[in-house]
């Protein structure tokens, strides 16, 4: 497993696509820095909000491109056939690759997080806003939450990559999953609160959403940005439950991936 982890690690630092996505993350942090000027009274909060959104976007993109490249493309190019000739279980390869993706996204999260942190700190030098943002534990806990969110998306992409016979499917479905996982929470909240009186919507989509609730994880639960931005400490139980949900979902996806990959034939 270590060998597959190490080769993933090397791929992450050598492939230009990954560097391009990382450059995109840096650009989005720069955009966050500039966006501060839209709010004369709370520039740090705006920069942090925009920055965290860009941070998640680039990290999700990084994870699904990595997964597609390290698993999907290897299957497509048949370089996986040589890997199968090693005296190891197929699961070893997949888990090694997944851990490699997690480690690389972890490093990217730290670097981009540090960059955003520096950008927000720098903004604070010029203007001390009345309601201060918390850039200590709350900020890094939020960065961790985004990384966990990305780990779930990567696990889903891994499963698709092991099943797919169409190149890029893992990339496309991974991106759709990341969007849907984030949107589903807002939709649940909207319908649970009565959909602003539109009962027809509740009746029409309620049952379907009750089913989706069991299939699609609510990734918005892993977004704790209100903590560093407004000092609103999320409910600890909710945090623990969301982490538990993410862990369970990752394990389930890895299990499905291993099953699909073990059964798959490479002609």
């Amino acid at each position: 497993m270590l060998q597959f982890f190490l080769s993933s690690w090397r791929a992450g630092f050598r492939d230009r696509t990954f560097l391009a996505v990382f450059a995109l993350g840096v650009a989005l942090v720069a955009l966050a820095y500039l966006s501060a000027s839209f709010s004369p009274r709370q520039p740090l909060t705006v920069a942090l909000d925009v920055g965290l959104s860009g941070f998640r976007f680039s990290l999700v993109l990084f994870a699904i491109i990595l997964t597609q490249d390290l698993v999907g493309r290897e299957i497509e190019k048949r370089s996986v056939v040589l890997t199968l000739s090693y005296p190891v279980h197929r699961a070893t390869y997949l888990i090694g690759r997944y851990l490699g993706v997690l480690a690389l996204t972890g490093v990217a999260a730290l670097l981009l997080g540090l960059l955003l942190w520096t950008a927000v700190i720098t903004l604070g030098v010029h203007y001390d806003q009345e309601f201060r943002v918390s850039l200590g534990v709350p900020y890094w806990a939020t960065v961790f939450g985004v990384w966990v969110d990305v780990a779930v998306v990567a696990a889903f992409s891994l499963w698709i990559a092991t099943l797919s016979t169409v190149p890029m499917l893992a990339l496309v479905l991974g991106a759709l999953f990341a969007i849907a996982g984030r949107a589903v929470g807002a939709v649940f909240d909207f319908l649970e609160k009565g959909a602003e009186g539109q009962t027809e919507l509740v009746v029409r989509f309620g049952p379907a959403l009750d089913t989706i609730r069991w299939v699609l994880p609510d990734l918005s639960r892993l977004d704790w940005r209100v903590w560093p931005m407004y000092g609103l400490l999320p409910d600890m139980q909710a945090i623990m439950l969301s982490l538990l949900m993410a862990l369970a979902y990752c394990l389930a996806m890895i299990g499905f991936s291993v099953h699909a990959f073990s059964k798959r034939e490479f002609s």
Partner: protein, 303 residues
């Protein structure tokens, strides 16, 4: 008895899909290869050579039958310990360097070697890759990738080498070097199973060869059996003159005839009388002859 490779009644059918019929790739292949033996696997494109090789390395599952390497079922990862494998048109992880590829192979096979770098460099030097040992594979030519894959397969000190078209993509010099290295491996007691289209090389290296066509193993022979089978057959070639009965014109003005030993003097006299110049007379005991004859007789029988 422990065989290096034991294949018993292997069938393989690729299931079809939407508007795509299923395809039978192997029809009851059985063969056994002893430890220390070199076995050449020949057959036309699509005959089933690569399918059997992929079953042996665990990339494909047989529809029926069984296969084992050193008494271990090929579905078990342990069967592949000490197995050096080179796929056809090897596609390697192109973000790695040849040295890293070899190192990964050593570690995944659990080999304990004191100086890993020295060991890997030895094999990279043997395949003329030392200068690019630390360059990424992306951008390597097909021949260089092939040599990297071969160095990787040999660096793990394999007890069994399975090579799918190991000589494709190599230039004549590279091909000779590889054949020499494989010959050396064979002489040291290694077991070699390889497929090739280059019949001359199969003839040179293999202790036995198997001919597969349309998923069926048509024959398994040794070069000695081949020679004994056809000791009295010759191929006669002559230039110029007129075509004589039974000959075929292989190039303008160059004719060839297949004949038995008893007919040779009369044929040579006919060549002289028609104004032709005798070019050469060779025994027709080549693997190529057997290849084409066996395949055409199989095709006739199949109609």
């Amino acid at each position: 008895m422990t065989y290096a490779i034991l294949v018993e009644g292997i069938h393989k059918t690729y299931s079809g899909g939407w508007r795509k019929p299923s395809k039978v790739a192997l029809k009851g292949i059985s063969l056994s290869i002893d430890a220390g033996e070199t076995f050449g696997f020949i057959g036309p494109n699509g005959a089933g050579k690569s399918t059997l090789i992929k079953i042996l390395i665990g990339a494909l599952l047989p529809t029926a039958g069984s296969a084992s390497l050193f008494d271990c079922d090929v579905r078990e990862p342990e069967a592949r310990r000490g197995l050096g494998f080179v796929p056809e048109n090897p596609s390697l992880q192109d973000f790695l360097t040849p040295y890293e590829i070899l190192l990964m192979g050593l570690r995944l096979h659990g080999l304990r070697i004191g100086d890993e770098r020295k060991h890997c460099m030895h094999w990279l030097e043997r395949f003329d890759l030392a200068a690019v040992a630390d360059s990424r594979l992306r951008g390597f030519s097909k021949g260089m990738l092939q040599r990297t894959a071969l160095a990787h397969a040999l660096a793990i000190k394999p007890r069994l080498l399975i090579l799918d078209e190991p000589l494709s993509g190599l230039d004549p010099v590279g091909r000779k070097d590889v054949v020499d290295i494989l010959d050396e491996y064979r002489q040291q007691g290694g077991t070699l199973f390889f497929s090739s289209h280059v019949l001359h090389d199969v003839e040179r290296i293999a202790d036995r060869f198997g001919l597969i066509h349309r998923g069926q193993l048509l024959t398994i022979r040794s070069p000695q059996e081949l020679a004994a089978d056809q000791a009295d057959r010759f191929v006669l070639r002559y230039r110029g003159g007129a075509p004589i009965e039974g000959c075929s014109e292989v190039r303008p003005g160059l004719f060839t005839l297949d004949a038995g030993a008893a007919d040779l003097p009369a044929l040579i006299a006919r060549v002289n009388s028609c104004g032709g110049v005798l070019q050469d007379v060779k025994p027709s005991v080549s693997l190529e002859t057997v290849f084409f004859r066996t395949i055409s007789s199989s095709d006739v029988a199949g109609r």
